[in-house]
Protein backbone atom coordinates (compact mmCIF):
# COMPACT_ATOMS: atom_id res chain seq x y z
CA UNK A 1 0.00 0.00 0.00
CA UNK A 2 1.40 3.40 -0.91
CA UNK A 3 1.00 6.34 1.38
CA UNK A 4 2.45 9.77 1.99
CA UNK A 5 2.77 11.95 5.04
CA UNK A 6 -0.31 14.05 5.70
CA UNK A 7 0.53 15.48 9.11
CA UNK A 8 1.91 14.92 12.54
CA UNK A 9 -0.71 15.56 15.22
CA UNK A 10 -0.04 16.02 18.91
CA UNK A 11 -2.89 16.37 21.37
CA UNK A 12 -2.88 17.23 25.06
CA UNK A 13 -5.11 15.11 27.28
CA UNK A 14 -6.35 17.37 30.08
CA UNK A 15 -8.46 14.88 31.99
CA UNK A 16 -10.35 11.63 31.88
CA UNK A 17 -13.88 10.57 32.71
CA UNK A 18 -13.91 6.96 33.92
CA UNK A 19 -17.33 5.47 33.32
CA UNK A 20 -16.36 2.01 34.50
CA UNK A 21 -17.80 -1.24 33.18
CA UNK A 22 -20.31 -0.56 30.42
CA UNK A 23 -21.97 -3.33 28.39
CA UNK A 24 -19.16 -3.55 25.81
CA UNK A 25 -16.14 -3.09 28.08
CA UNK A 26 -14.53 -0.40 30.23
CA UNK A 27 -15.22 3.10 28.99
CA UNK A 28 -12.79 5.96 29.60
CA UNK A 29 -13.29 9.29 27.88
CA UNK A 30 -10.06 11.23 27.43
CA UNK A 31 -10.67 14.96 27.18
CA UNK A 32 -8.50 16.79 24.69
CA UNK A 33 -7.83 20.39 25.65
CA UNK A 34 -5.43 21.51 22.94
CA UNK A 35 -2.90 20.33 20.40
CA UNK A 36 -1.31 21.11 17.09
CA UNK A 37 -0.76 19.52 13.73
CA UNK A 38 1.70 20.10 10.96
CA UNK A 39 2.28 18.68 7.52
CA UNK A 40 3.32 19.75 4.04
CA UNK A 41 -0.22 20.82 3.10
CA UNK A 42 -1.80 21.95 6.36
CA UNK A 43 -0.93 23.09 9.83
CA UNK A 44 -2.73 24.55 12.79
CA UNK A 45 -4.14 23.80 16.21
CA UNK A 46 -6.61 21.48 17.90
CA UNK A 47 -9.61 23.19 19.44
CA UNK A 48 -10.79 22.38 22.96
CA UNK A 49 -13.90 20.23 23.26
CA UNK A 50 -12.34 17.30 21.46
CA UNK A 51 -11.84 13.87 22.97
CA UNK A 52 -11.23 10.18 22.64
CA UNK A 53 -14.05 7.83 23.68
CA UNK A 54 -11.96 4.76 24.52
CA UNK A 55 -13.31 1.31 25.24
CA UNK A 56 -11.22 -1.46 26.78
CA UNK A 57 -12.56 -4.72 25.39
CA UNK A 58 -12.64 -8.04 27.16
CA UNK A 59 -9.73 -9.31 25.05
CA UNK A 60 -7.46 -6.53 26.29
CA UNK A 61 -7.61 -4.45 23.12
CA UNK A 62 -8.33 -0.76 23.62
CA UNK A 63 -10.66 0.64 20.97
CA UNK A 64 -10.14 4.31 20.24
CA UNK A 65 -12.76 6.70 18.92
CA UNK A 66 -11.10 10.08 18.60
CA UNK A 67 -13.11 13.11 17.53
CA UNK A 68 -11.35 16.43 17.07
CA UNK A 69 -11.91 19.82 15.55
CA UNK A 70 -8.80 21.16 13.84
CA UNK A 71 -8.32 24.80 12.97
CA UNK A 72 -5.78 25.56 10.27
CA UNK A 73 -3.46 28.54 10.46
CA UNK A 74 -5.59 30.22 7.77
CA UNK A 75 -8.85 29.74 9.67
CA UNK A 76 -10.47 26.61 8.19
CA UNK A 77 -12.26 24.21 10.52
CA UNK A 78 -11.79 20.48 9.94
CA UNK A 79 -13.68 17.73 11.74
CA UNK A 80 -11.51 14.67 12.24
CA UNK A 81 -12.62 11.26 13.49
CA UNK A 82 -10.26 8.39 13.99
CA UNK A 83 -11.10 4.85 14.92
CA UNK A 84 -8.16 2.88 16.26
CA UNK A 85 -6.76 -0.02 18.22
CA UNK A 86 -4.11 -0.10 20.94
CA UNK A 87 -2.72 -3.26 22.51
CA UNK A 88 0.53 -4.81 23.56
CA UNK A 89 2.33 -6.92 26.18
CA UNK A 90 0.81 -6.42 29.65
CA UNK A 91 4.00 -4.89 31.08
CA UNK A 92 4.12 -2.32 28.28
CA UNK A 93 0.46 -1.38 28.68
CA UNK A 94 0.98 -1.11 32.46
CA UNK A 95 3.95 1.22 31.89
CA UNK A 96 1.83 3.46 29.65
CA UNK A 97 -0.87 3.51 32.34
CA UNK A 98 1.75 4.60 34.91
CA UNK A 99 2.69 7.53 32.70
CA UNK A 100 6.10 6.19 31.71
CA UNK A 101 7.72 6.94 28.36
CA UNK A 102 7.50 3.78 26.29
CA UNK A 103 9.08 2.92 22.94
CA UNK A 104 6.10 2.99 20.52
CA UNK A 105 7.52 0.05 18.58
CA UNK A 106 6.77 -2.22 21.57
CA UNK A 107 2.98 -1.99 21.19
CA UNK A 108 0.32 -1.66 18.47
CA UNK A 109 -1.28 1.77 18.24
CA UNK A 110 -2.85 2.42 14.86
CA UNK A 111 -5.84 4.43 13.69
CA UNK A 112 -7.76 5.23 10.50
CA UNK A 113 -8.53 8.96 10.41
CA UNK A 114 -11.29 10.52 8.34
CA UNK A 115 -11.83 14.21 7.69
CA UNK A 116 -14.71 16.54 6.88
CA UNK A 117 -14.43 20.18 5.93
CA UNK A 118 -16.52 22.79 4.15
CA UNK A 119 -13.48 24.85 3.19
CA UNK A 120 -12.66 24.40 -0.52
CA UNK A 121 -8.94 24.83 0.11
CA UNK A 122 -8.93 21.64 2.16
CA UNK A 123 -11.63 19.72 0.26
CA UNK A 124 -9.01 17.11 -0.69
CA UNK A 125 -9.36 15.85 2.89
CA UNK A 126 -12.99 14.89 2.20
CA UNK A 127 -11.79 12.54 -0.53
CA UNK A 128 -9.10 10.44 1.12
CA UNK A 129 -8.60 7.65 3.60
CA UNK A 130 -5.68 7.81 6.01
CA UNK A 131 -3.89 5.68 8.58
CA UNK A 132 -1.86 6.71 11.57
CA UNK A 133 0.76 5.33 13.85
CA UNK A 134 0.52 6.52 17.44
CA UNK A 135 3.00 7.17 20.23
CA UNK A 136 1.38 7.44 23.67
CA UNK A 137 3.55 9.98 25.47
CA UNK A 138 2.79 10.88 29.09
CA UNK A 139 1.66 14.37 28.02
CA UNK A 140 -0.63 13.01 25.30
CA UNK A 141 -0.46 11.00 22.11
CA UNK A 142 1.40 11.92 18.94
CA UNK A 143 -0.01 10.57 15.68
CA UNK A 144 1.93 10.32 12.44
CA UNK A 145 -0.83 10.39 9.82
CA UNK A 146 -0.39 9.18 6.28
CA UNK A 147 -2.77 9.57 3.35
CA UNK A 148 -3.51 6.32 1.54
CA UNK A 149 -2.61 6.91 -2.11
Amino acid sequence: MESRLLMTLQVAVVGTQKLGAVPLGTRVIALVGSGHFEGPRLRGKVLPGSGDWTLLRGDGVLELDLRLTLETDDGALIYMTSFGLRHGPPEVIAAIARGASVDPSTYYFRTTPRFETGNPRYAFLNRLLAVSSGDRRPEGPIYTIHEIL
Binding site: L85, L129, I148
Partner: protein, 136 residues
Protein backbone atom coordinates in the same frame (compact mmCIF):
# COMPACT_ATOMS: atom_id res chain seq x y z
CA UNK B 1 3.97 2.78 7.38
CA UNK B 2 4.64 -0.93 7.04
CA UNK B 3 2.18 -3.36 5.47
CA UNK B 4 1.66 -7.07 5.12
CA UNK B 5 -0.67 -8.72 2.60
CA UNK B 6 -3.80 -10.07 4.27
CA UNK B 7 -6.06 -11.25 1.49
CA UNK B 8 -7.55 -10.67 -1.91
CA UNK B 9 -11.34 -10.55 -1.65
CA UNK B 10 -13.56 -11.15 -4.65
CA UNK B 11 -17.27 -10.38 -4.36
CA UNK B 12 -20.22 -11.25 -6.51
CA UNK B 13 -23.23 -9.00 -6.35
CA UNK B 14 -26.90 -9.17 -7.26
CA UNK B 15 -28.55 -6.32 -9.17
CA UNK B 16 -28.37 -3.12 -7.18
CA UNK B 17 -31.22 -1.65 -5.20
CA UNK B 18 -31.52 2.01 -6.16
CA UNK B 19 -33.17 3.82 -3.29
CA UNK B 20 -32.82 7.27 -4.78
CA UNK B 21 -31.96 10.57 -3.14
CA UNK B 22 -31.97 10.35 0.63
CA UNK B 23 -30.88 12.93 3.16
CA UNK B 24 -27.17 12.01 2.82
CA UNK B 25 -27.05 11.49 -0.93
CA UNK B 26 -28.07 8.90 -3.48
CA UNK B 27 -28.33 5.52 -1.85
CA UNK B 28 -27.56 2.37 -3.84
CA UNK B 29 -27.13 -0.99 -2.17
CA UNK B 30 -25.11 -3.84 -3.64
CA UNK B 31 -26.40 -7.17 -2.27
CA UNK B 32 -23.54 -9.63 -1.90
CA UNK B 33 -24.40 -13.09 -3.18
CA UNK B 34 -21.03 -14.75 -2.61
CA UNK B 35 -17.36 -14.58 -3.36
CA UNK B 36 -14.00 -15.79 -2.18
CA UNK B 37 -10.97 -14.60 -0.25
CA UNK B 38 -7.43 -15.85 -0.21
CA UNK B 39 -4.25 -14.95 1.62
CA UNK B 40 -1.27 -16.60 3.31
CA UNK B 41 -3.10 -16.94 6.60
CA UNK B 42 -6.72 -17.45 5.61
CA UNK B 43 -8.87 -18.43 2.69
CA UNK B 44 -12.46 -19.39 2.09
CA UNK B 45 -15.74 -18.11 0.76
CA UNK B 46 -18.07 -15.19 1.25
CA UNK B 47 -21.51 -16.18 2.50
CA UNK B 48 -24.59 -14.76 0.82
CA UNK B 49 -26.58 -12.19 2.78
CA UNK B 50 -24.12 -9.31 3.02
CA UNK B 51 -24.49 -5.93 1.42
CA UNK B 52 -22.68 -2.72 0.63
CA UNK B 53 -24.81 0.31 1.48
CA UNK B 54 -23.29 2.97 -0.74
CA UNK B 55 -24.13 6.67 -0.70
CA UNK B 56 -23.14 9.04 -3.46
CA UNK B 57 -22.44 12.40 -1.87
CA UNK B 58 -23.19 15.71 -3.54
CA UNK B 59 -19.43 16.17 -4.17
CA UNK B 60 -19.43 13.01 -6.31
CA UNK B 61 -17.61 10.73 -3.87
CA UNK B 62 -19.31 7.42 -3.06
CA UNK B 63 -19.18 6.36 0.58
CA UNK B 64 -19.04 2.61 1.11
CA UNK B 65 -20.44 0.70 4.08
CA UNK B 66 -20.07 -3.04 3.66
CA UNK B 67 -21.04 -5.89 5.98
CA UNK B 68 -20.34 -9.48 5.03
CA UNK B 69 -19.68 -12.84 6.65
CA UNK B 70 -16.63 -14.84 5.62
CA UNK B 71 -16.32 -18.59 6.11
CA UNK B 72 -12.80 -20.00 6.12
CA UNK B 73 -11.96 -23.30 4.50
CA UNK B 74 -11.67 -24.81 8.00
CA UNK B 75 -15.12 -23.62 9.07
CA UNK B 76 -14.54 -20.41 11.04
CA UNK B 77 -16.99 -17.54 10.62
CA UNK B 78 -15.59 -14.01 10.39
CA UNK B 79 -17.69 -10.88 10.41
CA UNK B 80 -16.16 -8.24 8.17
CA UNK B 81 -17.14 -4.62 7.74
CA UNK B 82 -15.58 -1.80 5.88
CA UNK B 83 -16.10 1.85 5.33
CA UNK B 84 -14.48 3.36 2.32
CA UNK B 85 -14.48 5.87 -0.48
CA UNK B 86 -14.80 5.56 -4.21
CA UNK B 87 -13.98 8.64 -6.24
CA UNK B 88 -14.22 7.82 -9.92
CA UNK B 89 -13.26 11.39 -10.78
CA UNK B 90 -9.99 11.41 -8.85
CA UNK B 91 -7.05 12.80 -10.81
CA UNK B 92 -5.15 10.09 -12.65
CA UNK B 93 -7.06 6.97 -11.68
CA UNK B 94 -10.22 6.21 -9.72
CA UNK B 95 -9.62 6.26 -5.96
CA UNK B 96 -11.26 3.23 -4.33
CA UNK B 97 -9.96 2.57 -0.85
CA UNK B 98 -11.48 0.90 2.19
CA UNK B 99 -10.69 0.37 5.87
CA UNK B 100 -11.81 -3.19 6.74
CA UNK B 101 -12.37 -4.49 10.26
CA UNK B 102 -12.89 -8.03 11.40
CA UNK B 103 -14.53 -9.90 14.27
CA UNK B 104 -14.23 -13.57 15.00
CA UNK B 105 -14.59 -15.87 17.97
CA UNK B 106 -12.30 -18.53 16.49
CA UNK B 107 -8.95 -18.47 18.35
CA UNK B 108 -7.00 -19.44 15.24
CA UNK B 109 -8.10 -16.23 13.56
CA UNK B 110 -8.25 -13.93 16.60
CA UNK B 111 -5.32 -11.94 15.18
CA UNK B 112 -7.97 -10.39 12.94
CA UNK B 113 -9.64 -8.82 16.00
CA UNK B 114 -6.46 -6.92 16.75
CA UNK B 115 -5.45 -5.33 13.47
CA UNK B 116 -6.37 -2.48 11.21
CA UNK B 117 -6.23 -2.91 7.45
CA UNK B 118 -6.63 -1.01 4.21
CA UNK B 119 -8.00 -2.31 0.92
CA UNK B 120 -7.48 -1.16 -2.61
CA UNK B 121 -10.58 -1.85 -4.69
CA UNK B 122 -11.28 -2.30 -8.33
CA UNK B 123 -14.50 -2.97 -10.23
CA UNK B 124 -14.02 -5.84 -12.67
CA UNK B 125 -16.48 -7.35 -15.11
CA UNK B 126 -17.28 -10.18 -12.68
CA UNK B 127 -17.53 -7.95 -9.60
CA UNK B 128 -15.47 -5.94 -7.16
CA UNK B 129 -12.01 -7.11 -6.09
CA UNK B 130 -10.28 -5.78 -2.98
CA UNK B 131 -6.58 -6.29 -2.27
CA UNK B 132 -6.36 -5.94 1.51
CA UNK B 133 -3.20 -5.31 3.51
CA UNK B 134 -2.70 -5.38 7.26
CA UNK B 135 -1.34 -2.20 8.78
CA UNK B 136 1.65 -3.39 10.83
Amino acid sequence: MRWRPLMTLRLSTAPTQNLGAGPHGTRVTFPITGGSFEGDRLRGKVLPGGDDWTTKRPDGVVELDLRITLETDDGALIYMTFQGLRDDGAPGAPYFRTAPRFETAEPKYSFLNRLLAVGKGEIRADGPVHVIEELL
